[in-house]
């Protein structure tokens, strides 16, 4: 082997070894985040906010030509419809108000209002790759956001806060392979752990379900409250596909999250949980 080739190979080996070591050294759970990176995120947050808005407008513009196909033909019919709809609008407003009142009466909504304090946050960024599922929110420690606070939408659980800077925070989605949520099947109270499958696939999986449990497709899965990060009773998703785990002792099931994690725009950060008997404090 020529000396030049050997030198090149040695350089490559050293580079790969150093990079592999750096990768291990910068696992977020082990080392926390670099302060420089947190400062960088604060600086970047307003830029990301603007670009996210631009992206949504761009998406609308791109889909506009598709929606315009046949628009001229539809236009006349729609104009005739407008008058009729105007008169119905008042009636529908009544239905809307009634619907809002009924929604407020739902048990879950009531529990949410009575027991939790929320901070509303906008999604301003996402993980650049497809492997992980993380979001950047426009709320940080200056608004009282802390690590391990649960993040949700009215539809269901989104994830938890993993890092916080003064004006932004990062959320680990329940579909991220690093995520684990203590959960139970609502119908039969069977417990298991909902873990992420892959960040962008939008699927999670409930594992360690005892194989004698009565598990069926379509059953609702909610947080169990065990593990102290997620408050009890938050909807996680519905069971979609049930399989045997390789050990034969347990079942696992694909979970389709209630919250549409690929289309999130605003989320709620649970900043405080009322200390009642069965609902533990966030991050405790």
């Amino acid at each position: 082997m020529r000396w030049a080739t050997a030198k090149r190979l040695l350089f490559l080996a050293v580079l790969v070894a150093v990079t592999l070591a750096a990768m291990r050294f910068t696992i977020p759970e082990r080392t926390g985040r670099i302060s420089l990176e947190l400062k960088f995120r604060d600086v970047l947050a307003p830029v990301q906010t603007g670009l996210t808005w631009l992206g949504r407008q761009g998406s609308y513009l791109v889909s506009l030509p598709v929606s315009m196909v046949g628009a001229a033909a539809r236009s006349q019919a729609l104009e005739q419809e407008v008058e009729r709809l105007e008169s119905e609008k008042i009636q529908f407003n009544e239905y809307l108000l009634e619907n809002q009142r009924l929604t407020a009466l739902l048990d879950y909504k009531q529990v949410m209002i009575n027991n939790y304090n929320f901070q509303i946050a906008s999604v301003i960024g996402r993980d650049p790759g497809n492997w992980f599922g993380t979001l950047t929110l426009n709320r940080g420690s200056s608004e009282g956001v802390m690590e391990n606070m649960a993040v949700l939408t009215p539809d269901g659980l989104v994830g938890r806060v993993i890092t916080v800077s003064s004006s932004a925070s990062e959320v680990l989605l329940i579909t991220d392979p690093r995520s684990g949520v203590g959960s139970l099947i609502q119908d039969n109270r069977t417990t298991g752990i909902v873990e992420g499958v892959a960040g962008s696939a939008g699927i999670a999986r409930m594992i360690h379900i005892p194989n004698n449990a009565l598990v069926e497709t379509g059953q609702a899965v909610v947080t169990s409250g065990q593990g102290s990060i997620f408050p009890k009773g938050i909807p996680v998703g519905i069971i979609n596909n049930i399989q045997n785990e390789p050990s034969g002792l347990f079942l696992s099931a694909d979970i389709i999250p209630y919250a549409n994690l690929n289309k999130l725009e605003e989320v709620l950060i649970v900043t405080y949980v009322q200390p009642v008997a069965e609902t533990p404090r966030v991050g405790g």
């Binding site: 696992i27 985040r33 960024g125 996402r126 650049p128 392979p177």
Partner: protein, 163 residues
């Protein structure tokens, strides 16, 4: 492409990747623009340059996300190297060839990415990893190659690099 310009371009691409591109995700999968720039530059400039640009682009992406520093650097280095090696053997001035190389090199890079995730104790089912992420991600990335290939090609020609 001068290295500082390349770094600035990657910075701008990364901001787009985390914001605007989310709206163009199909079934949750978005294209990897950094990978695309690395692979096409590597394809046109050669294996050594491809590996270097891939490593540099990946490191910037890793620093941007602030964790697992080196994860994208190594995977994009492999992708850039393979694209460069292919470029040295194939006819370069052809978009289908460039798109096919972009697909294969991206897929190879994502495979390295997957192996490194295993090294980091992050387990993703191989079925999901390849059929839901790696293959669709590489295909989506390669589909964008025709839109940027000539721009990079002409820029490199303009800069007077030998092809």
């Amino acid at each position: 492409m001068p290295f500082p310009v390349y770094l600035l371009l990657l910075g701008a691409i990364l901001i787009l990747q985390t914001t605007v591109l989310e709206n163009f995700a199909i079934a949750g999968i978005k294209p990897d623009l950094v990978m695309l720039v690395v692979v096409l530059n590597g394809f046109l400039l050669g294996a050594k340059e491809g590996a270097f640009l891939g490593f540099a682009g990946g490191i910037i992406e890793d620093l941007f996300s602030g964790s697992y520093i080196g994860l994208n650097a190594l995977s994009k280095m492999v992708a850039g190297y393979l694209a460069g090696a292919a470029g040295e053997r194939l006819y370069r001035e052809n978009i289908p060839v460039a798109a096919a190389v972009a697909f294969i090199a991206s897929l190879a890079g994502l495979t390295v990415n997957y192996l490194l995730l295993l090294y980091l104790d992050i387990f993703i089912s191989p079925l999901y990893a390849f059929y839901r992420i790696a293959i669709p991600g590489a295909a989506y990335t390669a589909m964008l190659a025709p839109f940027v290939f000539w721009r990079i090609f002409r820029y490199i020609q303009f800069r007077g690099r030998e092809l």
